[in-house]
Amino acid sequence: MSEMSDKPEKTGRLSVFKTYKLYVGGKFPRSESGRVYEVTDPKGDWLANAPLSSRKDARDAVVAARKAFGAWSGATAYNRGQILYRVAEMLEGRREQFVREVAEAEGLSKSKAAAQVDAAIDRWVWYAGWTDKIAQVVGGGNPVAGPFFNLSSPEPTGVVAVLAPQESSFLGLVSVIAPVIATGNTAVVIASEKSPLPALSLGEVLATSDLPGGVVNVLSGRTAEIAAPLAAHMDVNAIDLAGADETLAKELEIAAADNLKRVLRPQPVDDADWSAAPGIDRMTAFLETKTVWHPTGSLGASGSSY
């Protein structure tokens, strides 16, 4: 054929579709239920079939997150920072892919989608820098009135269930995952129900960023269906309700009381698109404070007794 075009779609070549899968325990399973649901762009055009996760998928994800918690929370803050920065590096290399996915998912122009992706990459960098600083900002020595050394330090709370924002499929997603894992928690994330594809692709990035398997687990499907067993799960320590509407948020908060999960209620987002600079609230919401006392011997009044 002599007719050639710059645009690949006009060459007549048939493209290869990607099968979107969950990301659990560092692997890419389909839903154990075998179910999928149709994901469309805002105009209703078909984009892909995404796994429709079941409560058993949620259960498996919690097991994976719990298993990963020991090593991840025990890693040095420096090491966690290096890995979060690596996520930014790997995302930068797949920027075009995410721009396309975000544009399709949210019906944005290329340039608006690009701004979202760039902000998401920078957000990983922002949290990469927090791993070894948060303890210096929220922890510290306490001048107790007695001969005691007294130090308060933040520690991660454990396994955190995260309902990703429904509207901001990527920047919102990154904005809720990164603060949870920066401090050493592990996460079970429910992707935006109608726009899960960027989240499922993020799993592929995380899997190649030296992030240990199980630290982040990504599920797609009906938010309410997956969130219910997570909110009631006795081996989940906290839940971020960012992606829940008012009714669901209340239901989940009631369920979460069974083991007194730390609950982060849906927060008003300054800009609906999550572009405002985050503070430290999303980290401190999932931190415990541990205070250690230790005698320091005598402080002089009673003479020298060491």
């Binding site: 803050a77 420096y78 920072g81 290096q82 920065y85 920078d122 960098v125 922002w126 990469a128 820098g129 927090w130 791993t131 070894d132 600083k133 210096q136 900002v137 001969p147 050394f149 600079a277 430290i280 230790h294 005698p295 320091t296 011997g297 005598s298 402080l299 020298s304 060491y306």
Partner: protein, 485 residues
């Protein structure tokens, strides 16, 4: 013949295991790095930098004078406006780039540093370079979080920082200076030491690779006169110096009456206090690390060993046995523990102080140790029967020389440890936690190591009390020196 018999005669001699020198390409000459370009000195002067382990000339380096320092400060001033106006997140990304490039080039830089400084490759590879990269990584993360650092809602940078660094940890001291300065939005003119200029000049190339805007970092190798000119320059807003207490005092006088902010990290005479309930094998390791790390050319070295009299003999036996296993020689050999002294001048100073120790009646001991024929070398040395009255217990030797003193009670240990004009570091060895904390409370020193020694981390503030200087480098505290607060 059985293997058993065969082995009875052989010994486990480690064959030479030299790190490859070919990973680093040193040019025959280097210029000053000003406004993003390498340039000759205004007066055309150059100086040679040699490898202390062989006395081989490594390269010829342009020698900055007053005019060059002025040009560098102007470049830094010119760059300051845009650099300080960048969003913190953008400055952060430059610093992250630098950190990553240092990680990528760390083997090359480790070999370079070993060649120029004389310290063992084991140290540059496993301590200096990882700490350098980590320091940039850490302060990169602060660049966009300054409002969380406790210095107000929008702390401002100072302007142009004039920084003068020593030869004992050339690249690490550069990192301690440049990383917080850049993170907070300052621009810098840095003068490396005249015996170790090369890693700073390689760092200039890293700035190029990272795409750092011109003039943000300027490097002016040279002697004390260049340092003095930098410190005295009227358009410098901040002076940071690491080096001797004598020069530190001179600098304090120079900046008196100006608005320049000053931090000084100076000498030390650290006490390493070993109680009778110490974990003895680890204490021995800590004593060795404390005084023989980097041939003792460390401001926070544990150069005075204060040992409880009841365990003195036992500890000294163990220490001497351990010192006999130290391997002194080619710094590029991966099995070398003790490298070369940095310069002939430093060697002469160490030699003179050690001789004075003998003359004043202290008992000198070194393990059997053959020193290479060329280069600057000093065998690991212990002095026992030392008292607070001996010169070697008072003056900073800055070499592999340990003075051993005894004490009877914790009070006496604290009194002796504090009995010095310095106050940089101290070590405490005991298995009893409350004793550690009580003694630490009473020590007048900026860094106290308990059951460890010579540990460094970018998150941890470092700096001295008294004549060891003021200001802290590292950690959240390290930001203050570069902010208008």
């Amino acid at each position: 013949m059985t293997m058993e018999n065969a082995h009875a005669t052989a010994a486990f001699e480690y064959a030479p295991a030299p790190e490859s020198r070919s990973v680093v390409d040193i040019a025959p000459s280097y210029g000053l790095f000003i406004d993003g370009e390498f340039a000759e000195a205004a007066d055309g002067k150059v100086f040679k930098t040699v490898s202390p382990s062989t006395e081989e000339v490594l390269s010829e380096v342009a020698q900055a004078g007053e005019a060059d320092v002025d040009r560098a400060v102007r470049a830094a001033r010119k760059a300051f406006g845009k650099w300080s106006a960048l969003p913190g997140s953008e400055r952060a990304k430059y610093l992250f780039r630098i950190a990553r490039i240092i990680q990528e080039r760390s083997r090359e830089l480790a070999v370079l540093e070993t060649l120029d400084n004389g310290k063992p490759i084991k140290e540059t590879r496993d301590a200096d370079l990882p700490l350098v990269a980590a320091h940039f990584f850490y302060y990169a993360g602060w660049a966009d979080k300054l409002e969380h650092a406790g210095f107000g809602a929008a702390p401002r940078p100072l302007g142009v920082a004039g920084q003068v660094i020593p030869w004992n940890f050339p690249l690490l001291m550069l990192a301690w200076k440049i990383a917080p300065a850049l993170a907070t939005g300052n621009t810098v003119v840095l003068k490396p030491a005249e015996t170790t200029p090369l890693s700073a000049l390689f760092f200039a190339d890293i700035c190029r690779q990272a795409g750092l805007p011109k003039g943000v970092v300027n490097i002016v190798p040279g002697y004390g006169d260049a340092g003095a000119a930098l410190v005295a320059h009227p358009d410098v807003n901040k002076v940071a110096f690491t080096g001797s207490t004598a020069v530190g005092k001179e600098i304090a006088r120079t900046v008196a009456g100006t608005r320049k902010k000053l931090t000084l990290e100076l000498g030390g005479k650290g006490a390493n206090i070993v109680f009778d309930d110490a974990p003895i094998d680890q204490a021995v390791e800590g004593i060795v690390t404390g005084i023989f790390f980097n041939q003792g050319q460390v401001c926070c070295a544990g150069s005075r060993l204060l040992v409880q009299e009841s365990v003195h003999d036992e500890l000294l036996d163990a220490l001497k046995r351990r010192l006999s296993t130290l391997r002194l020689g080619d710094p590029l050999d991966k099995n070398t523990d003790i490298g070369a002294i940095n310069s002939a001048e430093q060697l002469a100073r160490i030699t003179a102080l050690a001789e004075q120790g003998e003359a004043e009646g202290a008992e000198r001991w070194s393990p059997a140790c053959e020193l290479p024929a060329s280069g600057y070398w000093f065998a690991p040395t212990l002095f026992t029967n030392v008292t607070q009255a001996h010169t070697i217990a008072r003056d900073e030797i800055f070499g592999p020389v340990l003075s051993v003193l005894t004490f009877r009670t914790p009070d006496e240990a604290v009194a002796k440890a504090n009995n010095t004009p310095y106050g940089l570091s101290a070590g405490i060895w005991t298995e009893k936690g409350s004793r550690i904390l009580a003694v630490a409370n009473k020590l007048r020193a900026g860094v106290i190591w308990s059951n460890t020694f010579n540990k460094f981390d970018p998150t941890s503030p470092f700096g001295g009390y008294k004549e060891s200087g003021f200001g802290r480098e590292g950690g959240r505290h390290g930001l203050e020196a570069y902010l208008d607060v």
